[in-house]
Symmetry: D2
Subunit: 441 residues, 4 copies
């Protein structure tokens, strides 16, 4: 591949199905940053640097100065929600950001009102949508979404759009016949096939409208052959699934470290308590299952028990999420990890992460939007595996196991950026430092 990256001229519209805690924290945050009140901490595109060249070159530009990204000043937001609250009201209800901050940007937030959502209670039993579209069949709903997209683009004078799913976790489902080809899928839309989830309708509409799509929940959504095929056909970048925040973030940081040192793992117990809308939705077992599958998958790929049976063959991995209202959005995780070392002697690691769900997720939405837009401008279509870094359960080419190790994911992301811009890839070999030095002695 050889890249010709187009410039990020004009306005970029970021469309989000689900204007809940995460999306409103993002929108309010960007407004606050634009006014100079706050910093975009946690966002690689805004604050991250990248090393270029040799260590001794001392080249560490900001990523946003290295690759052409849309500027925050050129971003507009839009979205859909099952509740009619405007973004100010939704942000107040979410209780993530301080009231004082929200009041300082109230006019901007109040102006943002959600479009009516495509909603199906069968996919989110603990939610009661009131601000929803009605259509003859799922194809009709898809077309209404396409109209929304078209109108939004025009009304906001956008050059480009990108869609990031910020809605709730849908109930657990597996691929079925209707997901296998574009034809079957479109027939299913017309026939109201119950296996077509709301999130798939959004993804379908986006791709048809030429809008790249990133999936922040563990739902299948765009991770089905029909939509991958459609994305390739239309030359659209897609990626997923499930924002990697909190406990799973910690897990994909720590597990590679244990594996690096060939330390064995006998058990890993992960408990979570949170009290926001996400926690409430996940209190329904069918929705928790989707999340559980996403959360459980990470360790196997990192530890490869089939290659390391003495170290990881008997690992017992359990994940629990407990709805606990007193914490609100302040998600807290507690992990107990039973490891063993030299001669099998046992040790334990306990990690207690007092995190904030939406604070961790909001900058991921921004990064995914900006990098997805970059990929689209670079002509990269189909699955964007280099964005694995952001996902609990990365979508990959069929037959290719995802990488969960966050450091390999980071290397992949950084080397992709270097490759895009014609810089040398970094391998950390570094023998030359010693060769050079020897030569000059």
């Amino acid at each position: 591949m050889d890249f010709q990256v187009k410039n990020a001229d004009g306005r970029l519209g970021i469309l989000m199905p689900g204007l809940g805690a995460v999306a409103t924290t993002l929108i309010a945050g960007v407004e606050s940053i634009k006014k100079g009140f706050s910093q975009p901490v946690g966002s690689l595109t805004q604050m991250g640097r990248i090393r270029l060249g040799k260590r001794t070159d001392d080249r560490f530009p900001l990523i946003k100065e290295f690759v052409p990204l849309a500027d925050l000043e050129n971003i507009v937001f839009g979205g859909w929600d099952v509740y009619a609250d405007n973004v100010f009201e939704a942000a107040v209800n979410a209780k993530v950001l301080e009231p004082m901050l929200l009041h300082a940007i109230k006019p901007e937030l109040e102006a943002l009102k959600p479009m009516k959502a495509v909603f199906d209670k069968a996919y989110a039993r603990n939610l009661d949508g009131t601000h929803v579209k009605e259509g003859a069949d799922k194809m009709a709903l898809a077309e209404m979404l396409m109209d929304d997209i078209r109108e939004f683009k025009e009304a906001n004078n956008c050059e480009r759009l990108v869609m990031v799913w910020c809605g709730s976790t849908e109930i657990y489902t597996e691929e079925s016949e209707v997901h296998q080809s574009i034809e079957a899928f479109e027939a299913g839309l017309r026939g109201n096939d119950p296996a077509i989830a709301p999130s798939m309708i959004y993804a379908y509409a986006a791709i048809k409208m030429g809008v790249p799509f990133a999936n922040g929940a563990p739902n299948l959504t765009v991770d089905i052959p029909a939509l991958v095929e459609l994305a390739k056909e239309h030359g659209i970048a897609v990626s997923g699934k499930d924002f990697k925040t909190g406990q799973t973030l910690m897990k994909t940081i720590l597990a590679p470290g244990l594996h690096a040192r060939a330390l064995g793992v006998k058990g890993w117990f992960s408990s979570n308590i949170l009290g926001n809308r996400d926690g409430y939705v996940l209190d329904a077992p069918e929705n928790f299952k989707t999340k559980e599958v996403s959360k459980l998958s990470v360790l196997d790929e990192i530890f490869r028990p089939e290659s390391n049976p003495e170290l990881y063959g008997d690992m017992y991995h359990k994940v629990r999420i407990n709805y606990y209202p007193p914490h609100g959005d302040n998600k807290e995780s507690w992990d107990n990890i039973d490891i063993f070392g030299w001669l099998g002697y046992q040790m334990q690691i306990k990690i207690n992460f007092l995190c904030r769900d939406s604070i961790l997720a909001a900058p991921l939405v921004l990064d995914l939007a900006l990098f997805t837009d970059l990929a689209q401008r670079a002509g990269m279509s189909g699955i964007q595996e280099w964005l694995s870094f952001y996902y609990k359960s990365p979508q990959t080419a069929e037959g290719l196991a995802p990488e969960h190790d966050i450091f390999k994911q980071l290397m992949k992301l950084q080397n992709t950026l270097r490759h895009m811009m014609g810089e040398d890839l970094i391998t950390h070999l570094g023998l030359d430092y010693y060769q050079d030095l020897v030569d000059t002695l």
Copy 2:
């Protein structure tokens, strides 16, 4: 560099100054493993695998089957200690391994008796050595060590030797005049310069005898211009400093993860409790200082506050080690990390690691011995930065900042091995998987 790695024929002698908890845990462990009682968990050379080629090639050989390493059957151990206890007695006193296990290999351990140590109470105030060499001056002591080495090699019929410092942490010192050149150093040995620490005398004797040297403590030892120069002159591989175990291991796993996500850090407080001899030595402030400097250095290099002042410019980092006899060798660390994310909102991470000091360190001694021997056979002399993976405070070429990020260190180690054996380096770019798939559609 182009490598011609010699085979690992004949016996390898591993010499350790300091036959305390770590060394005896290693020796007893290797005996136990050779008898099939236990597994060498935590040792990359024994149980680690390495990926070769493309992900889809599915090539993951054991490292020991990929590069030519000395076999456990061909290893013999020797060492020096300030106490005359044989290895069985020392292991029993150390209370790391179960008495039942030690009794099963008692004859092998009893046969191993320490040689008299070079000791200087000024460098370890809480120790009282009784089994020590007496010499006219430090050069005389160095020569006595060289005699020991020569005799050990002959008596044990060794083809090659390697020395790994497993002794206590010496008091804090900085480089002075006497450390700047071979000439000054040798004059200092003859003149009994107080700035020459016992560990330096060992390193000097080793290099002079053609024995590569690895430094498991935070002392300067081989990290002075005089000894680096001597190593290059004799074509000897050296590396250091301070085995990376426990809390610092966790720190260099976690910090790169936070940095990867551009999360800010406001404070990091690290407390340790341990009750073994190491803990007792570190209860003396001058010895703790050496360890503290080693432990404090890791975060700055990973976070690069000078490049990221908004994220890491005000980070407050404090490390405490507390002698706590009830825990014995069961070192326990507790870390509190104050981080901040999107818009500056604060979060906390608490890590409680119930580890075992010597269980984590023993396999590092084995790996360092085997990899150092490999480097020596590959003709790599001077500082072995690719072994940074094992050290809290990696020794590097002058003017080159050490890498502390354990994942970059691992990449460096693995790509060095790949490079040695003529395999492709891995960059995790991986765009080809998608290109190929597109082509075949």
Copy 3:
């Protein structure tokens, strides 16, 4: 009440339905203690002291030297189990005690074989009993138990017996008609009423045979009007329910402390991981419910939210038990407590208890057996509320709320012992110390 406590002459038989981890840890422990290998730590009757008189009197006798208790040398054990393993085999399977210890007392343990159990799979879905009694109806089973008791007493030449339920938690049930009177209950036994649980049949048999009964599980068992009435009629001491160990023990220690200081509680989240048979049984939701009800009740009584609505009115209390095989009997609890203080400012307490389930429970069985026997000899019949100290969910007189505060329970226990022996009760007023001193100045 005025007491005449009979001496503890002759042998005391301790009968336990359920010879699993707890009971075998008790039996093996008592054998080990009798041989001088170990100490009965955790047992108030063996190691506890009691203050008598004024502080300045300095009278702190051992409890066992203050009240007449059966001596360990005069105790014999017996029991029933759904598996035929002898106590040695069961103790080995339970993996609580070290093999070396068990082998040192193997003959004594092997000699103890369980009698066939009364078992009903409907009450413990995760268990498959194979060593069980068959009878025409529940009354027939009760009579078989009475025969067992009679034979055991004779065969072991016991003067007195006491029964302590050490079996699994039964599924959740509430009181129904059949539990309301002796007549209804006996009719139910004959008619095989499904509401009569196995544990009730044991309790019925015990009381009819003049054997006092203590209930270590949260099942209703003896906490029904029919059996309380029967106990009073026969002059038999009974108590329950659910041994207070681990997390609930911590909770009834900590909660009174918070309440003492008028600190508010917003939420209390309790998670447990354990991997023993008890954990496996509790993995069935119906059995967990019984335990949950028992575990949840403690906070309300201590905090009295109805009297302190500003402090405890909105407290959210959640308890989870997770089956986690890697831990075996090493139960671990993690609690997060959200408290608030002055002006409503919030604080958090996290407690991580790495405990051992059976190690904590075994001495409670011993204490309950010895104190119940004491009560019986003192002529105290019916519900023994002074033993609340040992229970998660103390059985009390109808209409009387149980005390859960462990310090009030301890005061009740100690003042009951003082009262029995004619000593002054202690109120901690202590103004006299100052009066005396003033007078003598």
Copy 4:
């Protein structure tokens, strides 16, 4: 003793040496409570209830409705400080309370200005007082304080005064000759004896002016024979030392629980991190020593190792306080407790308390002020041991060991209140509930 408690008529002045974080949090809090913004959580006198009579009587009045206490509306505050900041400025600097809250009561706080302090840098090396009295000798300083007291009383139209030491911890000192009698002490004041600490000068001045005194720091202060004698002579109530908050509060809650169950303790390691002025003062080793002695004493009295050598004879207890600026007033403690149970099997408890130093301390100042005033009105002079409940290191009559068990302290406090008001003392015996029920059957 027979009590005649005078009514709490008129205004009560609360005088505090040290208008730092604790005192300003108290003052601001009381203003906020009076305006109805907040609740006095953590204050027994304001929100606590007391049980009277039998359990079945259901009498649980608020303490403030049971005993005659000064009303918040009738309280005025005053104090001394080494900095001239008014209370609003000091509260803003302390960063304990939200700016929004402070601004809502700014006028009331600004009006309160500290009087010049008696200060001696030798007693607080990390502080630099600028707002201090100058006098010929310590007696002159004492007289200046007496003038301050007299003027404050008049200016504020107070009926009664009480003084509570809220200043920093002074350096460690032990009793010497000058502290042994009133005569020696007064000679020392005139002779500028260096062993007379500033806090003693305040206590002396208070007692001479008829103002009862409570000591919130671990300094000797009023805990010397000279001042106890003076207090008795003048009929003045005094008490101390060191507000029991945070870690020690948790310790005196938990330790009695472990002791109640006869569980052994092998080690207790306590670490603290805090970043307020108190933490900064304690960073000086001489000041930390005073605090350490106070913090270490609690366990010995609770566990009584001399009576229970098998359980507590080898307990290793260590306390560390670490200055950690990122936390500010948010003190955090981490405790590791190594316990053992049945047969000596080991278990661990870890407690992580994320507390707020001043939030916990402020209500103690209020309670001590109100209860001390009550004692004074009840005619109780000399040491008030019944207020032990509030202190880390309770001051007691000579020869009488302090009670540290918070539950015995609470019982002492509550029974003292009951006794004052002529109510029955509570013993928790409660056998009558069962007797009555038996009788009525």
